[in-house]
């Protein structure tokens, strides 16, 4: 990842006047999915690019070292080597952007990636994931422990109650403390947009969270996860923040992104709203678990002209 976002002073005037028009954003979200498509080589290249944005994720109660190991291996070799060769892309070092696990599994992931001989970062969720309803002290401690275990990226959830009650300064302070607890690790702030009530709140929470790195839509555990309307609002906030401060903030949709087609729509959404500068792993991630296998299937079809059987592609 690029240099840390050193943060900015809290400036509530940036969020005091903002009003997001919900129906208009919904219309834009509908249009954006229909207005841009890519086909053929373009599609293959875009899909491979999408692979490099994936935070390959497993966040289940039954995760153990064996499936973490498998996940890490898949992160290193996301697409079958012969398929990449056919596309003349085998020397591009295509891996996923990171693997993302619970704090207790960070050690397993670090070990497995070391064994696979690569430097893919390990991301850990933290801070009372997914609800954030624990004491601040334990949330901060959780971050420190994950960093100690070797996580270099921390995905924290914000305290939704602070947003819903409008305590923007308290939210800002909490995120600053998370930031401090991360040390050298990168911070991604999960807004859990499905629980913020309105798009205007999403915009405001995005602005506050950016004053502190990456912003991320959701935990994957809410009823509504990464949706286009929410993403549009967050991307517009990122652009406004960039225009105000010159800082480029990263964006990570997570939850519910399963098909290769979805991933293409997300790429074109970022391209349309922010531009090509944002289309790199330092500024754009996709949090997903099953997406990768669908992308691999599409690549298989693109290269061979046939649809793959389940056993044709290695599992993750």
């Amino acid at each position: 990842m690029s240099a840390h976002n050193r943060g900015t002073e809290l400036d509530l005037s940036w969020i005091s006047k903002i009003q997001v028009n919900h129906p208009a954003v919904l219309r834009r979200a509908e249009q954006i999915q229909a207005r841009r498509t890519v086909k053929k080589e373009w599609q293959a290249a875009w899909l491979l690019k999408a692979v490099t944005f994936i935070d390959l994720t497993t966040l289940s109660g039954d995760d153990t070292s064996s499936n973490i190991q498998r996940l890490c291996y898949k992160a290193k070799y996301p697409i079958r080597e012969d398929l990449l060769k056919a596309l003349n892309m085998h020397d591009k070092g295509i891996t996923t952007a990171a693997v993302c696990v619970y704090p207790a599994r960070v050690c397993d992931a670090v070990k497995a990636l070391k064994a696979a001989g690569c430097n893919i970062p390990v991301a850990s969720v933290a801070a009372g994931f997914p609800a954030g309803q624990t004491h601040l002290k334990t949330r901060l401690e959780e971050i420190r422990l994950a960093v100690e275990d070797g996580a270099t990226e921390i995905d924290v959830v914000i305290n939704r109650s602070l947003v819903l009650t409008g305590q923007w300064e308290a939210l800002y302070d909490e995120i600053r403390q998370f930031r401090k607890a991360c040390g050298e690790a990168h911070l991604k702030t999960i807004l859990a947009t499905g629980e913020l009530g309105t798009l205007t709140n999403v915009y405001k929470a995005s602005m506050i969270a950016m004053m502190a790195d990456f912003i991320k839509t959701s935990t994957g555990k809410e009823t509504v996860n990464a949706t286009f309307p929410v993403a549009i609002v967050m991307l517009r906030a990122i652009r406004d923040f960039f225009w105000k401060t010159g800082n480029k903030i990263g964006f990570k949709p997570a939850g519910g992104i399963r098909s290769a087609k979805d991933s293409l729509a997300w790429l074109s959404l970022v391209k349309e709203e922010l531009g090509d500068e944002w289309l790199k792993p330092e500024l754009f991630r996709i949090g997903a678990s099953t997406l990768l296998s669908d992308i691999e299937r599409q690549i298989y079809h693109h290269v061979t002209g046939r649809y793959a059987a389940y056993h044709d592609l290695p599992m993750s």
């Binding site: 009003q19 997001v20 028009n21 919900h22 129906p23 208009a24 954003v25 919904l26 219309r27 834009r28 249009q31 229909a34 207005r35 841009r36 498509t37 890519v38 086909k39 053929k40 080589e41 373009w42 293959a44 290249a45 875009w46 491979l48 690019k49 012969d82 056919a86 596309l87 003349n88 892309m89 591009k92 309105t198 517009r236 652009r239 225009w243 790429l267 391209k271 349309e272 531009g275 090509d276 289309l279 693109h302 290269v303 061979t304 002209g305 046939r306």
Partner: protein, 821 residues
């Protein structure tokens, strides 16, 4: 390992992440053209009509210039054949119950669904518009239109009782149009039982395809006939004796010329003119969303024309920055590419916009262009023009291509229409100023208001003089929502109930006949006022002192300082009335305008209360009024009945106006659409000679009830009764509400019809006068209602107070209110 299908470029694309071509195959469009041997004729009476010895024009791909087919040009005899076919088909089609027509329209919708791919590729191929817009927008809406109107047809007998279909409709479409424009107009026409002859510009195959699909459905072949031909056929089609109404859609100047040439002809005329839209961006708006609204309006191939953009000064910089940023991401290319925002519209559109931009630049405007656009013609980049003051000559000069024609005597200073794909941005300071600027043009099509403050948005939405207002959205359409305009955008409507009434007439009224008098001289009609000479010896009781003109709430002496004698039925002098002239008309219109905002702002209840007060006053003076009527030759009983009926009319309209406007619910939109009925403004009424009291009141009552203010010319034979009513109005009404000018009918008619600031005119009088009024209305395209010398039974409910009056006395506005937090 199977053979590699990947191209060599994947590596480069992986780095650049550029978009690639997404071509949509147009093979089926070409295959359809092949079935016609690449030669398109006309579709008449369920058959292809390909007469010999006709000129043909090539139908080209606007982007590659490739010849797709040749299109035969219709001639006068083809037009006559089509009108005859439609006339024959009308007999059967209109006689069937609505349910049968409904089934037929539903079947047409199903056929369109089956062949939608052919339709959208053909349309996009030939017009150059983005295929995505045609596929996801137009084709779907076309089917919805058919379904909606099928429902209307099936309930026609109950819901539209008292109305009957007009007959054969002549539909004229502009050179650049979507087949959807045709659907908006043919659906209501067919639903109510009319049949259609559509004249489409050369080289537009999609309407022909639709006609073929409709024609091959079977039992009713002649209901939709499509001819392709040059603009010179427009007057020929319009003047065919079988045509009952001409629905014209196109450029304002052509509409104006057609209005003049159809004066006195048999066909009615409905105009839908201009393509420009308006967007108001206030400082409380969600600016990013408003920018998307601008894209929807001007840079997405959805709207047909350009956009005037008014931005509140305090957010000017922010809005312009966001607009320019957004423009950089627009993509233009071949219409059949599935990933472009804008296609191209052919060389003519390209020339028009080039000329506009050059002209704007030469007057000091700033021009910003951006986007991923091919550099060669006929592509044109999205363009943002700013710093073009409204008084600059560019905004005031007519487009060069439109000047000319036989009617050079134009009122000067019509602002140029903003062409596609141009947005002209200008600032405003307050909402009040925004309304002044927005309403300060002759156009009245559509507008959107972007504001997150409900109160402000409604204030602007109600205040804009346009046919459609969207709040925080732009360009939404639905079959159940009437779409139309006011002012010089023409006052014809399509969609919703208003669209149906365009093709209906009250049952049982005599057929509209041509009243064309070839030797009527428009330059001299009503120009001179015959001088008043002494009226001879006075017999009987000395007449009352001359009445004045009732203007601004009081009786005034006429500018000419002369009076005209009025005789009773036995030829004796009954009294003198003032001889009004041009200056008096000017004063009366001014007074009416001054009174208008206050009166229109009153609640319907308050307006009704005043009408009821006038009714009571008339009843108190019943004996005076009756005796006046008696002197005009009425029986005492009949005279008393006329007074009573007049009072009843006032009360009835006061009550009727309470239940005006309603809410529509639209598919796919959360939130209501309000169908408002708004007053027209200043209405000029020339009353018939007969029924001197009843007709006067029957016309006055609805006009005032709906919030208009009026300038009336009372019965020429007996203006005294109207002046009697004025004595009551002077005490009951605020000043200026109703103004009554007596004098020479033709002269006053001329003054009113040529007045640019009279918003509508009703004329009940001679055929010649009607013809003149229709001709003169082309100046500001005011809606006119002329009797053409036909008497009306004012004492009958249907003719004297029927729904026709209610329709004509107000204009519709659709106000879209999407909701969501």
């Amino acid at each position: 390992m199977a053979a590699t299908r990947a191209g060599p470029r994947a590596r480069e694309i992986f780095t650049s992440l550029e978009y690639g071509p997404v071509p949509e195959s147009h093979a089926c469009a070409l295959a359809w053209l092949d079935t016609q041997d690449r030669c398109l004729g006309h579709y008449v009476n369920g058959k292809w009509l390909k007469p010999e010895h006709r000129n043909s024009v090539p139908c080209q791909d606007p982007i590659t210039g490739e010849n797709l087919a040749s299109c035969l040009q219709a001639q006068a005899e083809d037009v006559a054949a089509a009108v005859e076919a439609a006339r024959m088909a009308f007999k059967g089609w209109s006689a069937h119950p609505g349910v049968v027509r409904a089934q037929h329209l539903t079947r047409l919708a199903e056929v369109i669904q089956k062949h939608q791919r052919l339709l959208w590729t053909l349309e996009s191929l030939v017009t150059g518009r983005a295929v995505r817009e045609v596929r996801d927008g137009d084709v779907q809406l076309a089917q919805q239109l058919l379904h909606y109107h099928a429902i209307q047809a099936s309930t026609q007998e109950e819901a539209l009782a008292g109305w009957e279909p007009m007959g054969v409709i002549g539909l004229i479409l502009p050179p650049t149009f979507s087949f959807l424009e045709m659907m908006w107009r043919i659906c209501p026409a067919l639903a109510v039982g009319c049949t259609v002859v559509a004249l489409v510009p050369p080289a537009s195959p999609a309407p022909l395809l639709l006609a073929q699909l409709a024609g091959e459905l079977g039992p009713f072949p002649g209901i939709l006939n499509v001819l392709s031909g040059p603009a010179s056929l427009v007057p020929i089609l319009a003047s065919q004796p079988g045509i009952r109404k001409v629905a014209f859609c196109g450029a304002p100047e052509e509409g104006r010329a057609l209005r003049r040439s159809l004066a006195g002809e048999c066909a009615e005329l409905g105009l839908a003119l201009g393509t420009e839209s308006l967007l108001l961006l206030t400082d409380t708006a969600d600016v990013d969303s408003a920018v998307e609204g601008v894209v929807d309006a001007a840079w997405s191939d959805r709207g047909p024309g350009g956009l005037r953009l008014l931005i509140q000064e305090s957010v000017w910089d922010e809005a312009m920055r966001r607009l320019q940023e957004r423009m950089g991401r627009l993509r233009s290319g071949r219409g059949l590419d599935g990933a472009v925002d804008m296609g191209a519209r052919g060389a003519a559109a390209c020339d028009l916009v080039q000329r506009f931009v050059r002209e704007a630049q030469s007057q000091g405007a700033q021009v910003f262009q951006a986007g991923d656009v091919p550099s060669e013609r006929p592509f044109y980049p999205p363009t943002l023009v700013s710093n073009l003051p409204p008084a600059s000559p560019c905004a005031q000069v007519e487009a060069p291509s439109l000047v000319g024609g036989p009617w050079r005597a134009e009122p000067p200073g019509h602002p140029l229409q903003v062409p596609w794909p141009v947005v002209v941005a200008s600032p405003f300071r307050t909402a009040k100023e925004a309304l002044l600027v927005a309403n300060g043009t002759p156009r009245g099509g559509s507008a959107s208001v972007w504001s997150e403050r409900l109160g402000q948005a409604l204030e602007l939405g109600y205040g804009l003089q346009v046919g459609t207002v969207w709040i925080n959205a732009h360009g939404l359409r639905d079959p159940s929502v009437p779409t139309g305009g006011c002012k010089e955008s023409g006052c014809s409507w399509h969609g919703g109930p208003d669209g149906l009434y365009e093709y209906l007439r009250p049952s049982g009224t005599p057929a509209r006949l041509s009243c064309l008098s070839k030797n009527l001289n428009y330059d001299t009609f009503g120009l001179a006022v015959p001088s008043t000479l002494p009226a001879g010896p006075e017999i009987g009781p000395s007449p009352a002192p001359p009445y004045g003109l009732f203007v601004g709430g009081r009786f005034q002496a006429p500018g000419a300082r002369s009076s005209r004698p009025i005789r009773d039925s036995s030829g004796n002098l009954h009294g003198y009335v003032a001889e009004g002239g041009a200056k008096d008309i000017r004063g009366a219109v001014e007074a009416a305008h001054q009174a208008f905002p206050g009166w229109a702002g009153q609640s319907p209840g308050a307006r009704a209360a005043l009408l009821w007060a006038l009714a009571a006053a008339l009843e108190r003076r019943k004996s005076t009024l009756a005796s006046r009527l008696e002197r005009q030759g009425a029986e005492l009983k009949a005279a008393e009945a006329e007074v009573e009926l007049s009072a009843r009319r006032l009360r009835a309209w006061g009550a009727r106006v309470q239940a005006q406007g309603h809410t529509l619910q639209v598919a796919g939109l959360r939130g209501p659409v309000l169908r408002l009925r708004e007053p027209l403004g200043v209405l000029a009424v020339v009353c018939p000679d007969e029924w001197p009291l009843l007709a006067f009141v029957s016309l006055l009552a609805p006009a005032l009830a709906y919030g208009n203010t009026v300038v009336m010319v009372p019965s020429a034979a007996c203006p005294l009764l109207a002046l009697e009513v004025c004595q009551d109005m002077a005490t009951v009404f605020p000043a200026g509400l109703a103004n009554v000018v007596t004098g020479d009918r033709d002269h006053l008619t001329r003054c009113l019809a040529l007045h640019q600031d009279v918003q509508a005119m009703w004329y009940f009088g001679s055929a010649q006068g009607s013809q003149f009024v229709e001709w003169a209305s082309a100046g500001n395209l005011k809606p006119v209602w002329a009797s053409r010398g036909c008497p009306r039974a004012w004492d009958q409910e249907a003719e004297g107070a029927g729904p026709e009056l209610g329709l004509r006395v107000a204009r519709t506005k659709a106000l879209w209110l999407p909701m969501g937090d």
